[in-house]
Symmetry: C6
Subunit: 275 residues, 6 copies
């Protein structure tokens, strides 16, 4: 559990990243994010599972020297969860800021992951933070927070999941500059897998090749390509002595899908690489 | 964050606009709004995302010298959120007015954005404010607020989103004079983009041309035309050194849609303008 | 805001009408209502938006010298909202009558607008008030209110909205004498428009003609005919100097519908009248 | 309001009927109910709106000398509403029996009207009262009430409304002896109309004939036949000077249906009788 | 009301059966239940309405000398209703065990009737009681109850009602030994009807024959066969002087179905027996 | 009830397993789990009912010397149920950790059974525990728990139940190494049945053969194969003197399905084995 030693303070998902996270840029995403940050443009990250959206935000948080607040959106997250609420203590009520209010005050980078899962009241809540006024109205206290200069709003979603029901409304999405992230190219992915799992360079190249080939199975019924994370899992198992084919079966094939026919297609790819 | 310095007081989304907002009229909308205001006719603004509905209301608020209360409607907004509620403090309960009640008392311009998203009880709540009596009954207190002379009700929605489920009932819509707003003509939009983003006049004309052409892609699967805001975003990126094609890709193409075919159509328009 | 000076007391939607409201009878509706009132027959008013249901009830309230309680039904209105509830005050609970209970005690005319929008528990609640016993059971207090002699129950709905889901059950509707209200004939409507908007007689005749012709567009996709209220709006704009065609466009055409083809049909009618 | 003088005590829908209600038996329903009562058999009354189910129960309540508790079922009625609940008073909680618990203790005839509208927990609640043990378990108090000897459970519903969704489960319905009630024959109905409305014998015969004929319109789209109550309404209007055709139009035709074609069919029947 | 004298204590649906209930075994169900009891195997009873599931459990409760807790499942029954909850008393909260917790402690036979109606959290709650550990975790108290040695879990449902939505999940149903109960054979049923209703042996044989024949009408649209209970009802009416045909009409035909064609089929069976 | 003596402490579903559970490995699942444990890889167990998922986790808990927390997921389980909540005690509120928070602190193996049944907020809650940071944010206390070194997250589901509605999102499932469990081979299953039920070796071999053959009936409409548990039930009945065919009917055939045709197929298999 050495990895988390580079965080100092823990306060409800707000943390300051003290050591540079391992991040290999694919294109000009760092420059674009920096300009957006300097111009107060909210940023929308789009991309499938495992393309490093979270890691990228963590890296930019470190690079820009701002604390990070990460909030996983879901349909039971209320506006009060984000903004804050009154708590009853004995005979008194005390106001407790929610993570969004704390981020607005602290000038944090606030990352709302999978924004399309959020309830409508949550989505509407962030509109005034994307306006030129950059404010967070707190109805229950009859006050309005102005965002600290360093505050930056980042949201993400996975377009592969999009349905008619769960879609960002245009009045929301036309408030963000959008970056589309993709799976890293094979050479980059090999370096990531090697760094995170501890396998040999040769093995990491083989695993990256597996990732690339498995992503081409989309037309064979594989809903979503394999993320880098699962390749790292396979690497970790291999590094501890599990045979590569078996490691890939439990960390990639079975993890990706329950469909036996699709599993056979993935296994074939595995076998073609680890003969 | 200089923009918000022209607001003085912050009280739960009520604010007084002290400096004239930048607004370029398209037709006689200012005159019509002024007559409606003088005759106590509630106003309905219709139009797609990014046609400046909010800016227009802010401008009229400044011009008429009335405070502005802006409320974003959504399906979890309750009547109590608007009217007010009793809060428990120690052993006592204290009544706290909601933003609508405050607007009614203060004679503010009260702007209910995206009214079709509101719950039915919220919609019904504003009916008595549109009657000749102009009252807001507060059931929980057994009292009735008469609207201050300056009070003006404005609601808006985007007809492009209309569905059978989310439609204003006739008993509601036949209470409003209606203004249909459209995207500004290209010359006006160029002036707005130049003013807000800081790009050169030539570049702003090119971006306005992009806006106009992209809106003609509706038949190519683009649900909603690009709003002026995104053109300003592109301008801000360009003004900070991002190449125009790349700036338009992240601020316009990717921001507008996830559909790869539609993205190609938008990119073609971008490329035809920024050769 | 001179209009509301003819009301004296304000208590949660109960009010006593002191000056005769402007009401022009269409047929024998006044006589029928008076007989129903004398015989304790509950009354159901049916008719489209803008046919003066509310005005008629206000007029009968004035004529019969009874206070009026008006309740707009919607799907979030609970039985407690109508009957009353216990409120916590410090360490004590205090009972607060709801508007229906107050109307029953005061012998008011109680008008439930758009009854089909009400929840089932609300509909069931009024059944005992329509029985020969004319009582309102208040379960939470274990008591039963007998209606004051002057109490009269009036409900309304718009048959044009009727759907299988939102329909009065026969066990409810067979408790009411029913009056079907229609848009007033053109000469009557002209007099109303002239009285309320201040336009000339000639202009009011033209606006009434517009109303009549626009209602014939139902087969052209116009869901609901234009109500007198919107004609008055148009009149008010015209009286303040807006050109008649433009006034009718914003107060009638755009207010009535978002459908561009239907808008063209209405505009044609407007243009044929205001050449 | 003379009618309700024959009730003495009012306690949450429990009342003792002191004067014999006007009830004309159609067949052996009184004898069957008396045997059911003596044998503790719960009774289910089936029949369309206006066939006198309530009046029959009131009559049996008078005849058997038992108080009557009438509960209108709807989908928001909770088990607690029926059984009772703890109320907070200052620092103490006090138990308040619900109407079903009071009926069980008082040995009342408990009439659950439109039982199919009740929520499932309510339906299940009455099962133990129909068992040979005749008990009402009160979970929240950890106690069980044995029904007083005189307690009799009666439920009703209208089979015409039955849908797959709202149907009595067999485990519920096989706990009741069932009586099917129909509209009274014409001669009986004439006597009822005359007694309740005060019209002449001749007029009451005409109105009863209207009832009979209108019920034959079911194949012409009339969902539910006219109940005796509406005929009485028409009679009351006629007795106060309204012309018979007009009285039948507002009290029968318009009250029964919104469908213009069906209205024409009913009006034809009216006109054939009141030439 | 003599029947319930054989119960001594009443505590929230827990009762000790002191006199042997009248139960006539159909096959080896008593032996199978006793083995299941001795081996701590949970028991699932399947069968249509009126096949004596409850009576069988009551009989086994008497035979095994264990108290009985009977819980009717429905979709509004919460886990807290079963396990217990904290109640507020003045300034203190007091824990009150629910009926399932009491049964677990007392070693009762706990009978969950119509388990498929229960909410998912309720179904999951009983899983640990069917494991070899036989425990009931009480989350809110942070404690775990071990079942008393005599505790036996019995659930039931009616397979005739089964739908895709309301079905026992396999992870639940594969925790029970299952007994399928059917209507008793005619000679047994005659003895039950005679014992419970007091009719003559000849009449009871006729009623049992009616039961048998009516159950063969399933292909004529009769959803569910007549249960023994309704035959007893008919017997009770006959014993008090109601003519057999009329008694069977109200206690069997009308009680079973609202469908007139099916009613005619049942009446034909009745008439063929009681000529 | 001797089985549960090998558990010492009971604290809300957390228990320490003191005696080695009876577990017969099928393949390399123990080794894979141990590597996953050493590398902090969360584990997903997939497999039908009765394949020993719970038993396997209990065995690994014993083998690794970690306490076990088992949580049955269902759609009414809230995030607060897992993480903890404030309880009101007199005038004070006290925080009570939920079972997940306790497991995180104690370094337990936390087993979320049937994870696909969980609500979305619950699923999202475990994401940070699968990240490299291994944290559990407790929003309501504004603090973050770091997982104890020994903490291991295990989730399970049954792919046979999978529907479009109830599916693990890819952003969740790509966080787990996956093990697919199957029914044990016949020789292993015979040894388990013999050990748990006490039947002879020959009988246990026959019962294992029944299990194997019954699982081949899937194409005959048997939704889910018979689990080992039901075979043990049959064995227990047989060991207590019930005839094998009858024991298999109540413990296997009737327990598995309500479908009479499928029951006949299973009975045929039973009869072919126990001739």
């Amino acid at each position: 559990m050495a990895e988390h030693e580079n965080y100092t303070s823990y306060l409800a998902e707000e943390y300051v990243i003290q050591e540079e996270p391992f991040y290999l840029p694919v294109g000009d995403e760092i420059e674009l994010f920096e300009v957006a940050y300097s111009q107060n443009l909210p940023v929308l990250l789009k991309g499938p599972t495992g393309t490093g959206k979270t890691r990228f935000v963590e890296y930019m948080s470190y690079r820009l020297g701002r604390p990070l607040t990460k909030i996983a959106c879901h349909e039971d997250l209320t506006a009060s969860d984000l903004v804050g609420r009154y708590l009853l203590e004995g005979d008194e009520t005390r106001w407790v800021d929610g993570p969004l209010a704390r981020a607005v005050k602290a000038g944090a980078i606030c990352y709302l992951d999978e924004i399309v899962e959020a309830r409508k009241d949550t989505t509407v809540l962030i509109h005034p933070l994307t306006d030129h006024r950059r404010i967070l109205p707190i109805d229950k206290r009859g006050e309005v927070l102005e965002a600290h200069d360093g505050f930056q709003l980042v949201v993400s979603y996975n377009p592969g999941y999009q349905s008619a029901l769960k879609d960002l409304k245009h009045s929301t999405r036309q408030r963000f500059m959008a970056l589309e992230l993709t799976h890293p190219p094979a050479d980059l992915e090999a370096r990531i897998v090697q760094h995170e799992s501890g396998v040999s360079e040769e093995m990491s190249v083989a695993l990256a090749k597996l990732g690339e080939k498995a992503r081409n199975l989309k037309d064979h019924g594989l809903q979503e390509g394999v993320g880098t994370r699962l390749l790292i899992y396979a690497g970790k198992l291999i590094a501890r002595g599990i045979a590569p084919r078996r490691a890939c079966q439990v960390a990639v094939t079975w993890a990706l899908t329950d469909d036996q026919q699709v599993q056979r297609s993935v296994d074939e790819v595995v076998n073609s690489i680890f003969e």
